[in-house]
């Protein structure tokens, strides 16, 4: 049987028992990729030779020794392209390793390839990629979610054992929910952003996409912790995220926010979530209704803060120093204009314009500043709620995966796909999404567990308890 279907923990046991050699593992994965990726299109660059070379030298005594990891295409890996799924970065080869990549390397992981995404992480469907769309492994006519859709699809289709994604407003959790895998957004500052191409600097976090909760804990352990190269990175050392796995959740209080179960939510998603919540109650948790009164403003606040930051973050892509430059321009202004016109996709341009507008003279107070004030309120909502519970349970997304093209022309509908995940980024909290059921048509449904800042152990503990007492995570897409 192929090793591609294993989890990190299973593989680590087998590697240490010498039941498998890292090279065999890479070969298994390459086989799986060549058989399913033509349909899924999760990867945009693959480095089979480099991975096989690394597998030969892998030190399996290290925590992730010999384990292949896929990386979203906006994280810098020395000597590799880092296109962010954008034409504007065509030809750019990153000259340095992101902190998370350095850490993966020193943990013994093998870098297998780069996964598709929405251009510059702007999107919820992985349709906004200059290199084509990724398909949902459970239904190839549907989106995998986004923006880390390539990473989620790769893990769900067993083309990767685990992957790194990034989450600015739900970009790890929502695709994890759509693809039926586990996705964790760490607390803001938990993982260094050095080497992560910035979309919205105050919201972005790198996190794991895995097949199980325990794998998410393991991968997070390898990448988290203080980094002097990121001023916003938490100087506290990262704890052992696996420490509480297996501990009972009896006696724990879980908050159920009433604002998250209102009209607009898909009935099958609502039913599955409620059932998961009862299941958690059955495991001994106490449920408590809580209120997050400013929930309704989170999408508006997010799209001002995120686009404002993005408008500055993406200004550097001008064709002057690296990447693609428009040809045959007469002067500087034309070079700037045409490089960006040709290099950026529609959604990216839309967001740069929105953000530029929000920061403009005369509008700053009404938009950016007010959005930041709302953000403070949202944060306070959560702080108040966490006085009464240890974690909050919600659906990850109001709907299961939608059809490719279905929302492409309706940005507002697309933005609403992140309605349950955005507030977590605005408040800087941690949250995990894990499978909690399927629709009748066989689409995965995700459960979101939100924790206070620096409480990843708690959400991992709850998620693990749920996962180990259900079998959603054991199901595989047929890919036909």
């Amino acid at each position: 049987m192929s090793f591609a279907f294993s989890t990190i923990r299973e593989l680590r046991k087998q590697l240490l028992a010498k039941e498998v050699h890292p090279t065999e593992l890479i070969e298994s994965l390459l086989d799986q990729i060549s058989s399913v990726d033509p349909k899924v299109k999760a990867y945009i660059h693959l480095h089979p030779e480099r991975a096989l070379e690394a597998a030969k030298k892998a030190d399996i005594s290290l925590p992730l020794g010999g384990v292949p990891i896929a990386v979203k295409d906006l994280i810098s890996v020395r000597g590799e392209p880092c296109t962010c799924a954008s034409r504007i970065l065509e030809g750019y080869i990153a000259p340095y390793d992101a902190t998370v990549i350095e850490r993966l390397r020193s943990a013994g992981a093998i870098l297998l390839g780069r996964t598709n995404m929405d251009e510059f992480a702007m999107g919820s469907s992985t349709e906004n990629s200059a290199w084509g769309m990724t398909h949902n492994p459970w239904d190839l006519s549907r989106v995998p979610g986004g923006s880390s859709g390539g990473s989620a699809a790769a893990v769900a289709a067993h083309e990767a054992i685990a992957a790194l994604g990034s989450d600015t407003g739900g970009s790890i959790r929502q695709p994890a929910a759509f693809c039926g895998c586990v996705g964790l957004k760490p607390t803001y500052g938990r993982v260094s952003r050095y080497g992560l191409t910035a979309f919205a600097s105050s919201l972005d976090q790198i996190g794991p996409l895995t097949k199980t909760v325990a794998d998410a804990a393991l991968l997070l352990e390898s990448i988290a912790g203080a980094d002097p190269r990121d001023n916003t990175c938490d100087p506290e050392p990262a704890p052992s995220f696996s420490a509480k796995l297996g501990e009972e959740i009896r006696g724990m209080t879980l908050g159920i926010p009433k604002e998250y179960f209102v009209s607009g939510i898909d009935p099958e998603v609502e039913a599955a979530t409620k059932q998961a919540i009862s299941h958690l109650e059955g495991l001994g948790a106490t449920l408590r209704e809580i209120s997050l009164p400013h929930t309704a403003y989170s999408v508006a606040s997010y799209y001002l803060v995120a686009t404002a930051e993005a408008s500055a973050n993406l200004a550097r892509f001008d064709g002057m120093r690296y990447g693609r430059r428009a040809k045959d321009c007469d002067d500087l202004l034309e070079t700037y204009g045409r490089t960006r016109e040709e290099g950026f996709g529609r959604e990216v341009k839309r967001r740069i314009l929105l953000g530029t507008y929000a920061l403009s003279c005369g509008y700053y107070d009404a938009y950016y500043l007010r959005a930041q004030k709302v953000r403070m309120r949202i944060r306070q909502d959560f702080l108040a709620a966490f006085r009464h519970c240890q974690a909050i349970v919600t659906p990850t997304s109001p709907t299961p995966a939608f059809r490719l093209g279905e929302r492409a022309e309706d940005p507002l509908q697309m933005y609403l796909a992140d309605i349950f995940t955005i507030a977590v980024n605005l408040a800087g909290l941690c949250a995990i999404s894990l499978p909690c059921g399927f629709t009748q048509s066989g689409l995965p449904i995700g459960l979101q567990i939100i924790g206070p800042m620096r409480q990843e152990e708690t959400i991992l503990q709850v998620g693990h308890a749920y996962e180990q007492s259900t079998d959603w995570h054991t199901l595989r897409p047929s890919l036909s």
Binding site: L74, I75, S76, C82, C84, L89, Y92, A94, P95, Y96, A98, R193, Y194, G195, L196, T197, A198, A200, S201, S202, P228, R229, D230, N231, T232, A308, E309, S311, A312, A315, R316, D318, M320, R321, Y322, L332, Y336, T356, L359, S360, C361, Y364, Y368
Partner: protein, 484 residues
């Protein structure tokens, strides 16, 4: 009708740090182009800034030296505009919460241009108020070659401090004085060498004119990027003149940004108000706020030196120097320190000051190699001269040798046979010889030509190979010539 100018300055000063403001690349002028670069200062995707604490301390130190308030919390903002020499197309700067607020600079007489030091404006001891001081990153440098342009990013990301004055200045000379005073203080604090040639001080000036005695400001024009103190003075003279001509002939000044062509002595328009940038400042989410209380402020306070004006009055008082002597000696801490060490090993500090200012500085300047005379030798030499054991010409001679081979001045004088002859008996013999050898001079002197005595003195100096004490010869000759 007379008009007056209203002038405010924005002074950009490059800080003297080992590394750049947000990365570990070296902050060094004149290196091979594009040799001090990394992902951060090149603005590569994913690179993040981390503030250089030393630059923050130097900025706070500057604020403390200039009497600014240091707010407990400061932050960095992004200033957005596109320019090829700016890698991120935004500049990390400080907008509404700078490191220093307020403060001021008093303009001493000697900071004015030499030709204006006797004017009332130079004697007024005016205090120019500061608005703020903030810290930002510098941009790269563009070079326009024949068929293409190139950019050197070595300067990109180096720390730049901006000092903004109130519009308190009214003349080009005051602007000149402000910059000279600032330069001295910044050097005292070791925050910058303020080397104009290296572009370590660059200045934007805002100018408007109004009828003398009126309150309302006229429309201002801004001249950008002046890179020397004298260019500031020249461009202001020109701009004030042209604004006055415009206004007094019934025209109106249009808000404008200008560039100064120093060679041609004229301003060139860059952009008008309509073309002004909207910089869309917002707090940089990559950088935490800076809390100044505690370590940062304490370290800055620890480094506050004795300031130029304090040093001048202390030198004048302690050593009995003239204001001029004290000012020149206090023009830089190393010279002042040198003087004080020399003065401590001497009985006559004024003689040390004279020797330092009249002879030592000149000799040092003329020497092709950097030279130094141990200060205690200079003090000893000053004593030899003031005690009359060497005359001043002999003093200079010893100093010239000292500069080449530092040895105790007494030794040099002895070896060279340099000693002033003050012995009356010895000198009397020479004087009598002079009188009998120059009957004409004697006759002239006796006829009332007092200057004729100089010829006799010259005779004695020649005979003694310059070693006679000139004061003593003069006294003796006068005495002998009065003999019947």
């Amino acid at each position: 009708m007379t008009y007056e100018a209203v002038i405010g300055l924005e002074v950009h000063v490059q800080l003297k740090t080992e590394t750049k403001l947000f990365c570990g690349c070296r902050n060094e002028f004149g290196a091979e182009p594009n040799s001090h670069l990394c992902p951060v200062c090149l603005g590569l995707p994913g690179a993040l800034p981390v503030p250089n604490e030393e630059a923050v301390i130097q900025t706070i130190l500057t604020g403390l030296m200039l009497g600014s308030t240091i707010p407990p919390r400061a932050k960095f903002d992004r200033k957005n505009y596109f320019y090829p020499d700016m890698p991120k197309n935004y500049q990390i700067s400080q907008y509404d919460q700078p490191l220093c607020l307020g403060g001021g600079v008093t303009l001493p007489v000697l900071s004015f241009p030499k030709d204006a030091q006797k004017e009332a404006q130079a004697l007024a001891n005016k205090k120019v108020r500061l608005v703020r001081i903030h810290l930002e990153e510098d941009v790269g440098k563009s070079f326009h070659l024949e068929s293409c342009s190139g950019i050197d990013f070595n300067r990109a990301g180096t720390p730049l401090m901006e000092i903004v004055t109130e519009a308190d200045l009214t003349t080009p000379e005051e602007a000149f004085a402000l910059l000279t005073t600032l330069r001295e203080i910044l050097r005292y604090g070791k925050v910058s060498d303020v080397d104009m040639e290296k572009g370590q001080l660059r200045c934007d000036v805002n100018i408007s004119v109004r009828l003398a005695g009126t309150e309302a400001f006229g429309t201002k024009r801004e001249i950008k990027n002046l890179n020397s103190i004298s260019a500031v003075r020249r461009s202001l003279k020109h701009e004030i003149q042209s604004q006055i001509e415009l206004v007094s002939s019934g025209g109106a000044v249009v808000q404008q940004t200008l560039r100064w062509d120093d060679a041609r002595g004229e301003t060139i328009p860059m952009r008008t108000k309509e073309q002004a940038h909207d910089y869309r400042y917002f707090p940089d989410p990559d950088l935490l706020p800076i809390y100044t209380e505690g370590r940062l402020r304490e370290e800055a306070a620890r480094r506050v030196p004795e300031l130029p004006e304090e040093k001048k009055s202390r030198l004048a008082e302690t050593y009995g120097l003239s204001e001029y002597q004290a000012s020149v000696l206090a023009s830089g801490p190393p010279l002042a320190d040198y003087f004080e060490q020399a003065a401590r090993s001497s009985r006559n500090p004024v003689a040390v000051a004279n020797l330092t200012l009249n002879d030592y500085l000149a000799l040092r300047q003329d020497s092709p190699e950097p030279v130094s005379v141990p200060p205690e030798y200079l003090g000893e030499l000053a004593d030899l001269v003031s005690d009359g054991r060497l005359n001043s010409r002999q003093g200079r001679e010893v100093l010239a040798i000292l500069i080449q081979t530092p040895r105790p001045p007494k030794e040099i004088a002895r070896e060279r046979g340099l000693a002033q002859i003050s012995d009356t008996q010895a000198l009397e013999a020479f004087c009598r010889e002079a009188i009998s050898a120059s009957p004409k001079s004697v006759a002239d002197y006796k006829a009332g030509k007092a200057a004729a005595i100089n010829a006799l003195k010259g005779f004695v100096m020649k005979k003694t190979r310059g070693q006679a004490n000139p004061q003593r010869i003069h006294e003796l000759l006068e005495l002998l010539l009065r003999e019947p």
